[in-house]
């Protein structure tokens, strides 16, 4: 999921569109809160969560947006972190261009 620092969901891709969308909106809001709390303590670049029903990774994209990847409880953390970082790097340039020219418009 791609979302703003205030938790507003910008884009989501998942296996089950309906359920994922419902979950994604709540998850993005909570992850934005978590990022705000933990990242302000220093220069955090990734946050990983291990939960009963799944695992999630959150990282920054284009300086201002947040990217969250989540999978089931068997998702290997190393892969989750690597995918999050790689995807963020891949999206950095195009999103920076859009944000730079768009001036922060929401694109849903």
């Amino acid at each position: 999921m791609l979302f703003n620092r205030d938790g507003s969901l910008l884009a989501t891709v998942g296996e089950d569109a309906t359920a994922e969308k419902t979950n994604a909106a709540s998850v993005s809001a909570i992850m934005a809160n978590i990022w705000a709390s933990f990242a302000k303590a220093g220069d955090a670049h990734v946050v990983l969560l291990d939960c009963e029903n799944g695992r999630a990774g959150v990282t920054v994209v284009a300086g201002t947006l947040l990217l969250c990847l989540y999978g089931d409880a068997s998702t290997p953390f190393g892969m989750l972190k690597l995918k999050a970082e790689t995807l963020a790097k891949y999206l950095d340039a195009p999103l920076s261009q859009i944000l730079g020219s768009g001036g922060g418009k929401d694109n849903k």
């Binding site: 979950n23 709540s26 998850v27 909570i30 809160n33 978590i34 709390s37 933990f38 990242a39 303590a41 220093g42 220069d43 955090a44 670049h45 990734v46 946050v47 990983l48 969560l49 291990d50 939960c51 009963e52 029903n53 799944g54 999630a56 989540y70 290997p76 953390f77 190393g78 972190k81």
Partner: protein
């Protein structure tokens, strides 16, 4: 040389824990490479126990435990979505790795070198939950009063 440890005597709960033996933190400090410090806090971020690695020169307790309260709040929030209960959370900073473990009403904070094995630290959730059972029960009872 065994790791240094400080016990906060103000809490009855930590006295109970002291009587039960405190090998969990020492054992972990010795077993996990790169681990600098182990803190056990309550949900408000008050440190109940801490153990520092023998060669740890840092003096940043406040920084390291300040996130414990944030973790307690985050854990409550995450439990409401489909991911359910948070077992642990790892934050990767440039100078350190901090892993928080959910033993609510206790929070364990592990501070380690930035290239430490996060998966290994997060996998310690079960061990800490078992080791801290008595202390957790005591804190729960204190909170109920």
């Amino acid at each position: 040389r065994p790791p240094r440890s400080t016990l906060m005597r103000s809490s009855a709960a930590s006295d109970v824990y002291k009587r039960q033996g405190i090998n969990a933190e020492y054992g972990v400090l010795e077993r996990v490479p790169g681990l600098r410090a182990v803190y056990v806090c309550d949900r408000d971020g008050v440190t109940l126990l801490k153990a520092l690695a023998a060669n740890d020169k840092s003096d940043s307790d406040d920084e390291d435990v300040s996130l414990a309260a944030a973790f307690a709040v985050s854990a409550d929030q995450v439990s409401k979505v489909h991911l359910r209960r948070v077992k642990s959370l790892a934050t990767f900073f440039s100078q350190k790795l901090v892993v928080h473990i959910n033993v609510l009403p206790l929070v364990v904070a592990l501070v380690a070198e930035p290239d430490s094995n996060a998966g290994l630290l997060m996998a310690l959730a079960g061990d800490f939950t078992n080791a801290l059972e008595s202390l957790r029960d005591s804190v729960e009872q204190l909170e109920e009063k």
